[in-house]
């Protein structure tokens, strides 16, 4: 894009570059974010902790958030400079998680001044982790059927019920949670509250998934407390906020379609595992065509993400197109997992052990975990409902005569 740039941005780039050189510990170069994925409950090493503090202090982990709450207070072009300079130095962004991806942007939009002052700075500094209390055993795609009850006890709500698929609940300090405050109504009986996870009425049990890992939990609330000051938005007005938060979640998930899992491209993998013919083409013509299709579709997806960004510039928050992006991005990511597995053959099915390299072992887990992409954050069927009803204006089914 030609609309930013010039000397100011270049000056900012050199500022960021020298700051990264001065503050990023060399021992962490090329390492993944320890706060993401398995083992994120482990204590940080001194270097990891120093890097988290340094970035948090600057607000550069959340560069576009308002400086008043500790964010970077920067524009999109400056944020991309930071991203670029971190990548150049092999540095991860140590500030992340659901607080950054979903809850923070939502609270900035809907929270009171006091709520923002209390909850945003610890997210910016990477001090507190958040989890999402939305789904329940009886409320999956039909999220508004949720039953976790919040009773008004004067200065606080008394919370009773069960949440499921609360990712990272075992490491979370806080939970942003949808609760029922009016049993007589469905969507209009839901409130959005913030619950301290470090209290006696909260019990967390990890759920082992098909990929052999346990990124999600069941969370039980038994006479847990949520202070009244931690009600976000009006009483019984939580559904609007939840929908907004889900938009942020979906735009985060759809991003997986564009970037992918990192690591080598499908083409490079195919050349390595399948080989090439005398003209340099991937040797298996059927596989080659499917690799081409996925690669081209991924490019069209990236072009669309870029277009949506350019078109929505100036608007706040994600556009309606995020509903399309979630399905398109997750289909591509799943297809890429399947192709990777197929390209590796039996070598891509290794579960553990020295017979398989690190990327092969990651592939099988990523393939399995990827099946969740079209389920969480609004299943592909729910996304298709949203597109057909809200964007295309197709009507609801009425009772057949």
């Amino acid at each position: 894009m030609a609309d930013f740039g010039g000397g100011d941005l270049e000056a900012f780039r050199s500022e960021v570059r020298s700051w990264v050189e001065a503050n990023f510990p060399a021992s962490l170069k090329g390492k993944p974010n320890p706060m993401a994925g398995e083992g994120r409950g482990d204590p940080l090493t001194p270097d990891q902790d120093a890097w988290r503090r340094a970035v948090g202090e600057k607000g550069w982990g959340t560069p576009t958030w308002p400086a008043a709450y500790g964010g970077g207070g920067l524009n999109g072009a400056q944020a991309r400079v930071i991203q670029g300079e971190f990548a150049r130095a092999g540095a991860y962004n140590p500030i992340g998680g659901m607080g950054v991806m979903m809850f923070g942007p939502t609270l900035l939009e809907y929270g009171t001044e006091a709520q923002k002052q209390e909850h945003i700075p610890p997210i910016v500094r990477g001090e507190l982790q958040w989890c999402q209390g939305f789904s329940e055993p009886g409320a999956g795609s039909d999220l508004a059927a949720l039953q976790t009850k919040a009773e008004d006890k004067g200065d606080h709500f008394l919370i009773n019920g069960q949440k499921v698929w609360t990712s990272g609940a075992q490491y979370a300090d806080w939970c942003f949670c949808l609760v029922r405050t009016d049993p007589a109504k469905k969507h209009e009986g839901i409130s959005f509250v913030l619950i301290d996870m470090n209290q006696p009425g909260v019990e967390v049990r990890p759920i082992l998934l098909i990929n052999g890992l346990a990124p999600f939990c069941e969370t039980f609330f038994t006479d847990a407390r949520a202070e009244k000051k931690n009600l976000v938005g009006p009483l019984n007005g939580g559904w609007t906020i939840a929908k907004r938060l889900l938009q942020h979640e979906r735009s985060g998930i759809s991003g997986m379609g564009g970037g992918g899992m990192g690591g080598p491209s499908l083409v490079d993998l195919a050349k390595k595992y399948v080989g090439v013919d005398e003209q340099g083409r991937i040797a298996d013509p059927d596989l080659r065509m499917r690799v081409i299709r996925n690669t081209m579709e991924t490019k069209a997806f990236q072009q669309t993400a870029f277009r949506v960004m350019a078109e929505s510039k100036g608007n706040s928050g994600p556009s309606a197109a995020t509903s399309i992006m979630k399905n398109a991005g997750t289909w591509l990511a799943q297809e890429r997992h399947e192709l990777t597995l197929e390209i590796m053959g039996h070598q891509g099915l290794g579960w553990e052990g020295d017979d398989f390299d690190r990327y092969e072992l990651e592939t099988v887990r990523a393939w399995l975990y990827g099946k969740a992409f079209t389920i969480f954050g609004g299943s592909q069927e729910v996304q298709s409902n949203i597109v057909s009803k809200r964007i295309l204006g197709l009507p609801d089914l009425t009772q057949a005569k």
Binding site: V267, M296, I324, A328, P395, L397
Partner: protein, 365 residues
Amino acid sequence: MAVLTEEQSMLRDAAKSWVQEKSPVTAFRKMRDSGAELGYDVAAWNEMAEMGWAGVIIPEEYGGSNFGYLSLGLVLEELGRTLTASPLIASGLGAASALILGGSDAQKGEWLPKIADGSAVGALAVDEGPHHRPEKVETTVSGGKLNGKKTFVLEGMAANVFVVSAKDGGKIELYLVKADAPGVTRQKLNLADSRGAANVTFENVAVSDADKLSGGADLLEKTLDRARAGVAAEMLGASLQAFDITLDYLKTRVQFGQVIGSFQALQHRAAKMFTELELSRSAVEAALTAIDNNAPDVPELVSLAKAKMGDTFHLVSNEMVQMHGGIGMTDAHDAGFYLKRARACEAAFGNQAYHRDRFAKINGY
């Protein structure tokens, strides 16, 4: 929709209102029913030329407006909506690109002003069989004589001048050949999409260096990429309109006591089409923008746009017939027109298989 300049928005709006007023699908139907010799309505083409659309990419010194390829794409998208048939792609895009990129001052001076004002029609004569294989050329130039047979030349009956690919000393070159030159014969093809097309035979047609465009095989590819991107823009418009018509039908057709658009089986297919259309628009606009920016990845982006758009138009045109049910099978309904145009556009200047293979080859696999 790409972020447009004010001039581009005005051009698009002008095209939109002209198409709605003067060139609805009924005009295309009338043209088809009349058996128009050229495959388009000459009076409508003259109006388009008067509005300057034939000169959108042509430099101002040659009578054009030099607005660029994205701008021309906006016009083609609007024309595509109602299947407006005209020589704009063959002449104002294809032949004009070859001249702009490879023409001498004399060649440009002779042809570009006439192409820009619509008084002359140019056409690309580059294929020699049922499939687009521009690198396989059996037409030859030897001893000042051009010999060969070109097939499925879009607007071949209307053309005043052909841009002909031929092997000259073993290398591909492009020549300008006047349609009325001795030794040129053309045979009208009646195709399912009712547009103007012809097979053109060149028998001992006299050519000299003054007729040769400079750039050879590279010029051919550059010219074709511009034509492909323009066809993709037309396909985008046609697909969007086919989808809109289908969506309207889903909202009005009643069966089982309710509109059929309330059935989830149809809703999700509609959502899928909408998703594909959004992705396709991005690819088409990115290709046109890359051409305007003279970006190094034009070939790759054009092949992406043509292939993606081909898949999407294919899907939407099939679903248009299927979702309309029996009425969609009748000639009285427009669905058949969109279906026929889809396949013709898919085949034009390389179908999906051609462009997927090309995309991979460009990227080394």
